[in-house]
């Protein structure tokens, strides 16, 4: 086992364990704090996959902004007993377990028998031309309209963010 494999197993174990903590804690603030660990470990997985820019964005947006937003929402919505009953299951939780197990079995089976997954076996490349780092390449793809690029989706995404900001203010303001 090389170093990358060992790091992958450690990070994946912490990732799955803290995700289980998110859905099993009785105190919802503890769930929100375990969610920070989930996001940070997902950033570690991105680093293993040569995606430095996504890893940094993950830390900034998810572990920074989204978690703070969730904690603010928890602060503004009071439930009856935050210590023991703030994050209860509903009556059909066993049905949810069955559904999730079935969905997971189907996904894992499909990933195992898919010819694409078999063809992608072996060492990953993620190779870029020499002297072009991940961040530079993503910048070229997102911003330069002369080559193969994603300029139009990028502009649409900025429009989505604008609409979301306005919508959040309109929905959340006091009458």
């Amino acid at each position: 086992m090389d170093l990358v494999t060992i790091i992958f197993w450690i990070v994946a174990a912490i990732l799955v364990g803290s995700a289980l903590l998110v859905v099993t804690q009785r105190n919802i603030v503890h769930s929100a704090l375990a969610l920070v660990v989930v996001f940070a470990m997902a950033a570690g997985i991105y680093l293993l996959l040569n995606a430095e820019f996504i890893a940094i964005v993950q830390i900034l947006i998810y572990a920074g902004a989204v978690t703070i937003l969730i904690l603010f929402a928890l602060m503004l919505t009071r439930t009856n007993n935050i210590q023991t009953a703030s994050n209860p299951n509903n009556k059909q939780w066993w049905l949810a377990v069955v559904v999730c197990a079935l969905v997971g079995a189907v996904i894992v089976y499909a990933a195992g028998v898919s010819p694409h997954a078999v063809a992608f076996d072996g060492n990953g490349s993620g190779q870029l031309p020499a002297g072009i780092s991940n961040v530079v390449r993503i910048g070229q793809l997102l911003y330069s309209p002369t080559t193969y690029s994603y300029v139009l989706p990028f502009e649409i995404a900025s429009l989505v963010l604008l609409v979301a900001i306005v919508g959040a203010i309109v929905i959340g303001r006091e009458d």
């Binding site: 090389d2 494999t5 994946a12 799955v16 995700a19 289980l20 998110v22 859905v23 919802i28 769930s31 929100a32 969610l35 989930v38 997902a42 997985i45 991105y46 996959l49 995606a51 996504i54 964005v57 947006i61 902004a65 989204v66 937003l69 969730i70 929402a73 919505t77 439930t79 703030s86 994050n87 209860p88 299951n89 059909q92 949810a96 377990v97 559904v99 999730c100 997971g104 996904i107 990933a111 195992g112 997954a117 992608f120 072996g122 990953g124 490349s125 390449r137 993503i138 997102l142 989706p153 995404a157 989505v160 963010l161 609409v163 900001i165 919508g167 959040a168 203010i169 929905i171 959340g172």
Partner: protein, 107 residues
């Protein structure tokens, strides 16, 4: 034994199922939102893994999976902001965030 694409796909599948359980089985609306965020992260992991293991010559330099992941993160941030504003607005009117009790649109 080195890592292959299937390691990341199975990790994404496990994470997706945990998030799905959180979204289906929780009563608190904020906990449902946390489950959805975990599901989006699972999809992002599979997207970046596909981008990393893609070896087809011109397309591997287009980083399609990573670009997809960036847009998913963008939409997820917008979704979290709008959803939490809705949760706070509902809490202000009805003093509850229990998704089982918010049934005003139930037919």
């Amino acid at each position: 034994m080195g890592l292959s694409l299937n390691h990341y796909l199975v990790l994404g599948a496990v994470l997706f199922c945990i998030g799905l359980y959180g979204a289906l089985a929780k009563r608190n609306a904020v906990a449902v939102l946390m489950g959805i965020e975990i599901m989006l992260n699972a999809v992002n992991i599979t997207m970046v893994a596909f981008s990393f293991y893609n070896k087809v010559a011109p397309y591997s330099t287009y980083l399609t999976g990573q670009i997809f992941a960036i847009f998913i993160i963008t939409v997820a941030a917008a979704e979290a902001a709008v959803a939490l504003a809705m949760i706070i607005a509902i809490y202000r009117r009805r003093s509850t965030v229990d998704v089982g009790e918010i049934d005003i649109m139930k037919w």
